[in-house]
């Protein structure tokens, strides 16, 4: 969000480039965030926030696609941290869940992974990114990404394999 709360205006080629990137990447990011967070509405909010941050920083960003993916990962982490904090701290009368039509074993299994593992496995298998690319997105060392991927797959295999 722009610090001033006011929208940032891009003009000319910058505006065109931003729009093109948005149209190319937004839906994918929403789906990635959906797999990580488990909520489509939340995924859209976080994805829009990530693009809004890119919009604000546009002139100084060399790799807009990488920037917005990293920004999304940060937002997913913040969202999960806040959710954990609030659920732990506050006694809610009713749990809030997305109105899913039926149990989704994949999403349930993903939700049981620590956020970092979940992020890695989603970028790997839905996003198709390599280990070095995921390391760059998440800001983690490649070794941690490999380790996280291995552990995530081990856990998922136990839950999803027939």
């Amino acid at each position: 969000m722009p610090a001033s709360g006011q929208p940032v205006e891009l003009v000319g080629d910058d505006s065109t480039a931003f729009d093109e990137l948005f149209r190319a990447e937004y839906a994918v990011l929403v789906r990635v965030a959906y797999l990580i967070i488990g909520s489509q509405s939340r995924a859209e909010e976080l994805s829009q926030d990530a693009f809004a941050q890119l919009l604000e920083k546009w002139s100084g960003v060399k790799n807009p696609g990488g920037f917005v993916r990293t920004a999304l990962v940060s937002r997913c982490r913040d969202a999960q941290r806040r959710e954990i904090t609030e659920r732990r701290k506050l006694r809610l009368l009713r749990p809030v869940t997305e109105a899913e039509p039926e149990a989704d074993y994949l999403l349930d299994s993903l939700a049981e992974l620590p956020l970092n593992w979940r992020t890695i496995v989603v970028f790997r298998f839905y996003g198709g990114y390599s280990i070095p690319e995921i390391a760059e997105i998440t800001g983690d060392p490649e070794g941690s990404v490999k380790s996280g991927l291995h552990r995530a797959l081990t856990q998922l295999r136990g839950q999803l394999s027939p």
Binding site: Q40, S47, N116
Partner: protein
């Protein structure tokens, strides 16, 4: 070790990819609408959306006579419940349940069945919802049973606040559950607008004081009092420090690694006396300590500080940022320990008897490579350590057989028991958990070694503190 054939692994990974693609097949966001929202500045934290929400709220107040109201999604016919002198009415096909008179806590509970009819996700005012649900504050149990009425609800720079009748302001937090948090310092609004906004809120700040510097000093003092009250948990403290940092321009938030999460220092530059000010929310003697570093560079301590001096603060480093501390942790008990690092998504439980090699690898995944290690020529245990935590390894069985925690200058995980006891905890806190604790003077100092966990303290009085703790088999020279 994974002995699954490669072909099975490949099949599973292919299947996983396919399952993910199936799961997102119905996720079809409106790209153009989203693009307009982002470029138009109508993000979920924009003030525009907040203003829309504010107007809707104001309209609801004007139309229905004010008082507390709640929002939830309904479909179908209108419904109403009479509670005392109040009528709670859900407005059909809207996000609003209106209550025309203030309700107290018990009365709000009576209308819960009405509120419970909603689609699970609550209306969020900061994403364009039509109204705000403030009753969650009561339903969460935070406010208690005192009746109150919100007299003002406003949005500022994407944040939503409500003012209760007694002058206390609440920040309504954006979340799927929409909860409100008491804004006890009256820090509503953004830094640039806070002075005028807070003057209208009342509460801690003196509306007759026009000086911004004075306002900030008062805010600092109130923050100090709140921290010293000991009523905040770590999440609330982190929230408060966020606000201090934002409102006062404090630039450093630290938690000394060796003292655990209860000791937090905030260094605020630019105090009105021309110097810096640091605040320890919990000192080693359980009392708050505040000191200033004036332009001369010499510290002056303004609170009681018999046991804590600036040297203690400096010596207590290295300092970790609060977020880092929140991310990692070790919980120890008499039979082993568990650990978690949310930043790398690693958790584990290691009881005594665990093979040391895999244990060390696992913990290293969470906290990085060990930064200390000893091979003892006089004990049967070697050790390997991360910051204040050392694991004892039986050199014959090659298993983890003990742990030791002591103050350390190096970075590492925060280590406490499940009850929150750790380095820096007071003897009073120890005795609250272990009433039968006996602390005796030994060659090491003051020790309690009768219980499942051994403690080394600075003395035997309630205000003395834990300096080291250990369990299992360790190497201690007496």
């Amino acid at each position: 070790m994974n002995e699954t054939p490669d072909i099975d692994e490949s099949s599973f990974e292919t299947s996983l990819e396919q399952q993910m693609r199936t799961a997102v097949a119905t996720v079809d966001p409106d790209i153009e609408q989203a693009l307009r929202a982002v470029k138009g500045g109508a993000s979920r934290q924009s003030s525009d959306r907040g203003s829309q929400w504010l107007l809707a709220v104001a309209a609801a107040i004007l139309v229905f006579g004010g008082g507390i109201f709640a929002a939830s999604r309904f479909s179908g016919d209108s419904d109403e419940i009479q509670v005392g002198d109040s009528t709670a009415t859900s407005v059909p096909d809207s996000n609003t349940t209106v209550i025309d008179e203030a309700l107290d806590f018990e009365q709000l509970e009576a209308i819960t069945p009405l509120l419970a009819r909603e689609i699970p996700r609550l209306s969020n005012p900061l994403t364009g919802g039509d109204a705000v649900r403030v009753d969650w504050l009561l339903l969460s149990g935070e406010v208690g049973t005192e009746p109150f009425r919100f007299t003002e609800i406003w949005a500022d720079d994407g944040r939503a606040f409500a003012l209760s009748e007694d002058g206390t302001s609440y920040e309504l937090l954006e979340s799927d559950t929409l909860v409100a948090r008491r804004d006890t310092l009256g820090m509503a609004g953004s830094a640039t607008q806070w002075q005028s906004e807070i003057l209208s809120v009342g509460g801690f700040l003196d509306p007759e004081s026009a000086s911004e510097a004075h306002q900030r000093d008062r805010l600092w003092d109130d923050a100090s009092d709140l921290l010293a009250s000991g009523t905040l948990d770590s999440d609330q403290r982190a929230f408060l420090f966020d606000r201090i940092e934002m409102q006062l321009g404090a630039t450093y938030l630290y938690v000394p690694a060796s003292f655990g999460t209860d000791l937090i220092a905030v260094v605020w530059e630019g105090h009105s006396d021309g110097g810096n000010r640091a605040f320890l929310s919990d000192s080693v003697n359980g009392k708050p300590v505040e000191y200033s570093i004036g332009e001369s560079g010499r510290p002056s301590v303004s609170y009681e500080a018999e046991r804590v001096t600036l040297d203690d603060v400096l010596e207590a480093g290295p300092w970790l940022m609060v977020d880092e501390v929140a991310d990692v942790g070790v919980t120890v008990d008499a039979s082993g320990f568990s650990y978690a690092s949310t930043s790398v998504g690693v958790t584990g439980v290691l009881p005594f008897g665990s093979p040391s090699e895999s244990a060390i690898l696992s913990v290293s995944d969470a906290f990085g490579q060990p930064d200390s290690g000893t091979v003892s020529t006089q004990c049967l245990t070697d050790s390997v350590g991360w910051g204040s935590l050392s694991l004892s390894i039986d050199s014959v069985s090659d298993t983890i057989v003990g742990w030791t925690v002591r103050r350390s200058r190096s970075e590492g995980p925060v280590v406490t028991t499940a009850d929150g006891l750790g380095i820096g905890s007071t003897v009073a806190e120890l005795r609250a958990i272990y009433p039968e604790l006996i602390i005796e003077e030994t060659t090491l100092g003051w020790e309690s070694i009768d219980g499942p966990i051994s403690w080394l303290t600075s003395g035997s009085t309630d205000t003395d503190i834990v300096q080291a703790m250990w369990a299992g088999e360790t190497c201690v020279f007496r």
